[in-house]
């Protein structure tokens, strides 16, 4: 898919999120879980957004969820311009009570088949010549 140099925006991979990016490389989608109240959080904040505890642990999620909403993009920005049409989705994870909702593209799918509630799983893409792995979603059959 990426023959030419990857020219889409990539995360900086900040030190405070190292556990997350290491997780992607290990095939895990980790989010901060609060050791005080048990909430799972996405996106990550330095303190729990429920109880404000800073005692959180990067914890692997199931990596599975259901599509909360989606769009088929027909006009893509920058490096995405040649990928159209592509599917962008918000995916709700089962880890509650404040279920993480994670944004990502849905790959290996017929755009016309995508629907709200569709089961998907996280898939990983290692970016050549860059120090980061990113995530997408794919149908979870």
């Amino acid at each position: 898919m990426t023959q030419q140099p990857y020219d889409k925006p990539l995360p900086q991979r900040l030190p405070e999120n190292e556990e997350f990016f290491a997780g992607l490389e290990a095939g895990e989608f980790r989010v901060p879980k609060c050791n005080n109240c048990g909430y799972w959080h996405w996106i990550p904040y330095p303190a729990c957004r429920n109880c404000l505890s800073t005692d959180q642990t990067w914890t692997a999620t199931s990596g599975k969820g259901k599509i909360f909403s989606y769009t088929v993009v027909h006009r893509g920005p920058g490096g995405f311009r040649d990928d159209v049409p592509y599917v962008l989705a918000m995916v709700e994870f089962p880890e509650g009570p404040r279920n993480p909702i994670v944004l990502g593209t849905v790959v290996d799918v017929d755009p016309d088949a995508v629907h709200t509630g569709m089961p998907v799983k996280v898939v990983y893409e290692e970016i050549p010549d860059e120090n980061v792995t990113i995530w997408h979603f794919a149908p979870d059959n």
Binding site: Q4, P5, Y6, D7, K8, P9, L10, P11, Q12, R13, L14, N17, F20, I43, P44, F68, S69, Y70, T71, V72, V73, H74, R75, G76, P77, G78, G79, F80, R81, D83, Y86, L88, A89, M90, E92, R98, N99, I101, L103, G104, T105, T116, I127, E130, I134
Partner: protein, 394 residues
């Protein structure tokens, strides 16, 4: 808690020409707008002693430079944010004796907000075909941008409430109709459109078509809020600030949770409830409104969160034509962000239009006997940043 009513009024408003690729800079367009608003009010630049910037990044330095530009006397009040909230807070500051004349100003030239922005920056530097590094959770890593983000909201809203796309597509039709009655609008001269025209326009990010999306153009505007003492000597009749409120949250990706649409509401609900309570008026008292309308779903959620209809019924409210001139809640009579102008940070223009309505200056699009108006400024998605002002003429 009641708002200090009729202690401050909007005494001057001005929109510069709104168009794609205007001559000038953000500074010169804001300056032209300030000069226009001063002339509208019959005030001098040296009367201004409070400044509220609509710039996205209103650094203290930039505010200080504007203080110098406007005559180099210390300002006693500054603020930053979105227009409905800035009008309200200016009125509160005036009532508290902090300031007498507050100038709310904005200008934008040569900025593009849509996907063409990233595209243009890449084409400007074609040699650097390398992945730019962005903050770790930035949505553009995934190919999202503003229209795609609102497309996600729109889809969720449609699925949650069984809202037909065609109902939402009535909003661009209505906005265009209003624009045809506003000679200053960008799209008015292209004439009216139908729901079928919206459906037939190119798909941007499903379900949003091009005609569902805001314009992306240059322009400036300014609004002057003054004390009752100053207002009585101004050129035009005062438009009083009866009440208002602000709500700051965001359901942009950086703070999104699954609790998106619920009966408790978010920023817009909070700001609206404070505004109506403080103003001592009801939703039924409102004759005309200006509401931030970047996409049809925004408008559907606006009227739900402001309490003009129930949650989930906004699309039907639009379909039934209540927002149209002659309807029970005429809204965005200038054509709004889809057909009048979206100049980058356009929320002040909703204030300008409601002020003109309350003054009776709207000619073909005038709402008959408009006495009380409401403005909702908004941003960062439908529950994000909210500012409400309730305005009235004598």
């Amino acid at each position: 808690m009641s708002f200090p009513q009729r202690k401050a009024a909007i005494v001057g408003v001005y929109n510069t020409k709104q168009a794609r690729m205007l001559e000038g800079t953000p500074w010169t367009l804001a300056l032209e707008a300030i000069q226009g608003a001063l002339d509208d009010a019959g005030l001098k630049h040296s009367d201004i002693d409070g400044l509220s910037s609509m710039m996205y990044d209103a650094s203290l330095t930039a505010q200080q430079m504007w203080v110098e530009q406007l005559g180099g006397r210390p300002m006693t009040y500054t603020s930053h944010g979105i227009a409905g909230a800035l009008v309200t807070k200016a009125a509160a500051a005036i009532a508290a004796g902090l300031t007498n004349v507050v100038c709310i100003y904005f200008g934008n030239a040569g900025m593009r907000a849509g996907p063409s922005k990233q595209r243009a920056s890449q084409e400007a530097a074609p040699v650097v075909r390398k992945a730019p590094r962005v903050p770790d959770w930035d949505f553009n890593i995934h190919g999202a941008y503003m229209s795609a983000w609102y497309a996600l909201w729109t889809r969720r809203y449609m699925d949650q409430f069984n809202a037909p796309y065609e109902n939402l597509a009535e909003y661009p039709v209505l906005a265009r109709y209003h624009a045809t009655l506003n000679p200053a609008s960008i799209m008015g001269e292209r004439g009216e459109i139908t729901v079928q025209d919206v459906i037939d326009s190119p798909m941007i990010s499903s379900p949003l078509h091009r005609l569902d999306c805001s314009l992306d153009n240059d322009g400036g505007y300014a609004i002057l809020v003054a004390s009752a003492e100053v207002a009585k000597n101004c050129r035009k009749a005062p438009v009083w600030v009866l009440g208002g409120g602000e709500g700051i949250y965001t359901d942009f990706y950086m703070s999104f949770t699954n609790d998106w649409i619920n009966d408790n509401g978010q920023s817009v609900r909070r700001a609206s409830d404070i505004a109506f309570a403080g103003a001592g008026v009801t939703r039924d008292d409102i004759d005309v409104t200006g509401m931030y309308d970047c996409f049809p779903v925004t408008m559907a959620r606006n009227i739900e969160e402001m309490g003009f209809c129930k949650v989930g019924e906004g699309h039907e409210f639009i379909k039934e034509g209540h927002l149209k001139l002659g309807g029970k809640l005429p809204t965005n009579t200038d054509g709004g962000l889809l057909s009048h102008s979206h100049c980058g940070n356009p929320s002040g223009m909703h204030v300008v239009e409601v002020v003109k309505q309350l003054r009776g200056e709207c000619d073909a699009r005038q709402v008959k006997d408009a006495k009380i108006g409401a403005v909702l400024s908004q941003g960062y998605a439908v529950h994000g940043v909210a500012g409400v002002s309730i305005l009235a003429k004598d």
